[in-house]
């Protein structure tokens, strides 16, 4: 009888620590479950560029592009790093900004160091990556 009383505190301590361990396991498994959802719940976005325009320094044939604007939307609203690349046969210029995009098009105005607007033309690429 004396021995049982002696081991009672140890028994209670074991019981309490087991309960705490079980609670910790439950919380951990909840987090692991979230990880297990994988790509199934990840949003997939499409960038929609609805317009592109350039501004030039003059109306002379040998003019230069100094900037422009684009209207951009994304099917998944959020903050994006938007990179605009302007390319002619004379070279390439890049403009980067951070913008909040949604399904409603947003206008982004950009400026670049002058770039000769040569024939056969200019390519304006717009890329948006999550910020």
């Amino acid at each position: 009888m004396l021995r049982a009383r002696q081991f009672l505190p140890l028994f209670l301590a074991l019981l309490i620590s087991s309960a705490a361990y079980a609670a910790a396991l439950t919380l951990t498994s909840s987090s692991v479950d979230q990880l297990g959802m994988g790509e199934g719940n990840v949003d997939r976005y499409y960038v929609r560029v609805l317009s592109a325009s350039i501004t030039v320094d003059s109306n002379a044939f040998n003019n230069q592009i100094t900037g422009g604007s684009v209207t951009v939307a994304s099917t998944v609203p959020g903050t994006y790093v938007v990179t605009i690349t302007v390319t002619t046969s004379a070279g390439t210029r890049t403009y980067t900004t951070t913008a909040t995009l949604s399904t409603t098009p947003a206008t982004i105005t950009f400026t670049i160091s002058p770039l000769s607007y040569t024939a056969p033309g200019v390519t304006i690429s717009v890329r948006a990556d999550p910020a």
Binding site: Y45, L50, A52, G121, A128
Partner: protein, 118 residues
């Protein structure tokens, strides 16, 4: 500990526009802008602004081509009109054939060309 928010995955993170500039005798016109019109996600038209350099009146055919991820043409729209004088002019394309979703358009090419007949 909560799991951090996951960034959206890119299906189509980029689009590009090609604006044409001509350099042949009697045609040194250049495209300055293009705006697509959409209804829902379907591309329904385009408005093109170009700079006309040669004063005499002539016909200009404006062609907007929509390309997919592989560079294949998936739809085309055309306008053709007579334009007068020098300055910024507007071409309006009212339909694309066939109708396509903006979400499968990766590249937009805009070409203007002086033509004898439309």
């Amino acid at each position: 500990m909560p799991v951090a928010a996951v960034d959206p995955l890119a299906v189509k993170p980029e689009m590009s526009y090609s604006l044409g500039k001509n350099n042949v005798p009697g045609d040194q016109d250049e495209v300055r802008s293009v705006a697509l019109s959409v209804s829902g996600t379907t591309v329904t038209g385009a408005t093109v602004q170009f700079y006309k350099r040669t004063p005499i009146p002539y016909r200009v055919r404006t062609t907007v081509t929509l390309l997919d991820a592989n560079g294949n043409t998936i739809s085309t729209g055309t306008a053709c009109d007579v334009y007068f004088g020098v300055g910024t002019r507007t071409a309006t394309i009212t339909s694309f054939t066939p109708p396509v979703s903006i979400d499968i358009v990766y590249r937009v090419n805009v070409v203007i060309q002086r033509v004898v007949l439309c």
